[in-house]
C-alpha cells in the first residue's frame, strides 16, 4: 500500500498543512519537515485551523495545501472556497474513511478510486487521500500535481505506477467477487467511526449476517450459483442501506454492515424510513435489516432453477456501540455471537444483542 520511498520533490514552494497533523499522518507528532527516505526535505508549515491557514496561504505562495477534513474548519466548504480563491496551490484533502464520499464530492471526482482521486481542479480541492496515512504515501499524493508541466516520459511512468498502486490498493481493500469492502477495511472503518463518535456523541450499530444453507447451494447447484447468490445478496444489501453506511464481505458467505450517523446526510421528510438521520439506533437499522430480508425473499436466482425465487434467507446479529461494546472488536464479536444464536434458534432471523425479546421481527 505504501511505497514509503518517494523520492520526488515539490518544486517551487512549500507545503502547508491545515488541521491536526498528528491525527492525519501516522508516525508524525509535530512535523516541521516532511521526511522521505529518511531524509528531511521539504519544509512543512502547520496551522491548527482554517483562519490561520488562509492567512498563511495568502501571505506565502505554497505549492501544496493539505487540509485535514475532520478538524480544519467548522465550515469546510466555505474555508476551501476561500482557499481556492486566494491561492493557486494544489489543495489535497486528508480524509478519514467515512469522509471519503464527501471528499470525492469536494474534489468533484465522483467514482474515483478507493483512496486517491484526482480532480480536474474545478472542485474545491484537487485530490484527497485517506488517513491516517503514512508519510511516503502522503508525499506521493502531494507530488502529483494536475496541470503541472512535467517531463513526458516521467509522466507516463508516473501514470503507470499510479494505476498499478491504485489496483493494488483496490485488491487490498475490496472483495473481488462482490465489489464490497473486505474484512480488514470494514474493521478499520468501524474503528474510525468509534473514534469519531467519541468526539461528537454519534451512534453506530454493526450488523453481521450470513446466507442460510449457503453450502447447500454451492454443493447442489454449483459454485457459479453460489457466487451468484453472494453477488445478488451484496447488491441487495447495498441498495437497502443508506449511502454512507459501509457494507463489506468479511468471510465466505458472511457480510457486515457498519451503520452510523453522518451529519452531512440530509434529514429526511417526516415518515422517511430509509434515509432517516434522527431515528434511534438500532431502530432504524432494524428497519433496514427487515427491508433487506424482504427484498432477498423477492429476489430471483436464475442459477438456482425454477425454485430460485424466495428461497434465500439470512441469519444475523446486531450490536450497538455503547450498549453492547465500546470497541470494534467487541461489537463484531457480540454481533457474531448474536448471529450464532439466531442460527441455533432455527435460522432466518436477526437478533439484537442482549435483548430479552431479541428477534427483530418481534420489535415494532
Amino acid at each position: 500500500m505504501d511505497s514509503g520511498n518517494s523520492t520526488d520533490k515539490i518544486s517551487g514552494g512549500q507545503i502547508l498543512l491545515i488541521g491536526n497533523a498528528s491525527a492525519a499522518l501516522s508516525g508524525v507528532h509535530t512535523p516541521d519537515k516532511l521526511p522521505t527516505r529518511g531524509e528531511l526535505v521539504e519544509p512543512i508549515k502547520v496551522c491548527a485551523g482554517m483562519l490561520d491557514g488562509i492567512e498563511a496561504a495568502v501571505k506565502t505562495p505554497f505549492a501544496v495545501i493539505a487540509v485535514v477534513m475532520a478538524d480544519a474548519a467548522t465550515n469546510l466548504r466555505g474555508g476551501l472556497a476561500t482557499l481556492r480563491k486566494s491561492t493557486s496551490a494544489k489543495i489535497v484533502l486528508l480524509a478519514r474513511m467515512y469522509e471519503e464520499p464527501r471528499a470525492m464530492e469536494l474534489v468533484g471526482a465522483a467514482g474515483g478510486s478507493t483512496s486517491l482521486a484526482t480532480g480536474n481542479g474545478a472542485g474545491l480541492a484537487d485530490d484527497y487521500v485517506i488517513c491516517p496515512i503514512r508519510m511516503g504515501k502522503f508525499c506521493e499524493a502531494i507530488h502529483h500535481r494536475p496541470g503541472a508541466v512535467e517531463d513526458t516520459t516521467t509522466d507516463v511512468a508516473d501514470t503507470a505506477v499510479r494505476a498499478k498502486m491504485n489496483r493494488l490498493e483496490k485488491l487490498a481493500t475490496e472483495d473481488d467477487l462482490t465489489g464490497l469492502k473486505n474484512r480488514r477495511y470494514i474493521r478499520e472503518f468501524a474503528r474510525q467511526i468509534i473514534e469519531r463518535t467519541g468526539r461528537d456523541n454519534g451512534r453506530m450499530t454493526v450488523l453481521i449476517f450470513d446466507i442460510d444453507n449457503f453450502k447447500h447451494y454451492n454443493d447442489v447447484y454449483s459454485h457459479a450459483a453460489g457466487d451468484e447468490v453472494l453477488k445478488q445478496a451484496a447488491l441487495l444489501i447495498r441498495r437497502c442501506c443508506r449511502r454512507h453506511d459501509m457494507v463489506g464481505r468479511i468471510g465466505g458467505d458472511e457480510f457486515a454492515v457498519v451503520f452510523w450517523d453522518d451529519p452531512q446526510c440530509p434529514r429526511p421528510a417526516a415518515g422517511g424510513e430509509r434515509r432517516s438521520f434522527a431515528a434511534d439506533h438500532p431502530r432504524e437499522v432494524i428497519s433496514i435489516a427487515k427491508r433487506f430480508r424482504r427484498e432477498l425473499g423477492r429476489a430471483e436466482f436464475r442459477l438456482l432453477g425454477p425454485e430460485g425465487r424466495g428461497v434465500l434467507t439470512i441469519s444475523g446479529g446486531l450490536a450497538t456501540l455503547g450498549a453492547d461494546g465500546s470497541t470494534a472488536e467487541e461489537l463484531f464479536a457480540k454481533a457474531d455471537h448474536a448471529l450464532l444464536d439466531a442460527k441455533r434458534s432455527g435460522k432466518n432471523r436477526v437478533y439484537l444483542v442482549g435483548q430479552p425479546e431479541n428477534d427483530i421481527d418481534k420489535i415494532g
Binding site: 485551523g49 482554517m50 483562519l51 488562509i54 495568502v58 466555505g78 480563491k85
Partner: protein
Amino acid sequence: MEGCGSIVEFRVILVGAESDQFVRFATAMSSRLAVNFAVCRDLYEVAAELARRPVQRCLVVGRLEQLSRERGRLFEKAAQAGWACCCIAKKISGSTRNWAIRAMQSGAIVVNDVGQLEEVVTRMMSDTSGTLPRIGQDKENG
C-alpha cells in the same frame, strides 16, 4: 464589495451576506461616514482579506454567532493584530452567553442593536489610538 474612497485611516470589515439587514445598514452608514469598508461573506474571507490588505486600524463587524465560529479564533487574532471587533447580538442567552463573554474578554465590543454601530464607528474614527470605545459610557459617567 468595496466601499468608497477613505477619508479616515481605518477600515471596516462587515461579515455577512450582502442581503443581510445589518450589512445593508452598515454599508449605507459606512458610505455616509466616508469610511473605507469591505463586505466578507464569512470569517474565512475576513482572514484572506486582512492577509491581503493588512491595515493597522480595522474594525470587524458581524453577528456574535458568526464572529465566534472557529472557536473564537478571530477574537484571538484580532487581539494579537490590534484589530477591533464589534459583535451584534440581539439577545444573549444560553450558548451565546459564553460566546459573548469570550468575545468581551478578548477586547471585542458587544452591541444589541445595529443602531449602536454608528456610535462605535464614529468614536473609532475620532480616536487615533485604535482602541474600542465603550458604548454608552458618557451616559454612565453622567
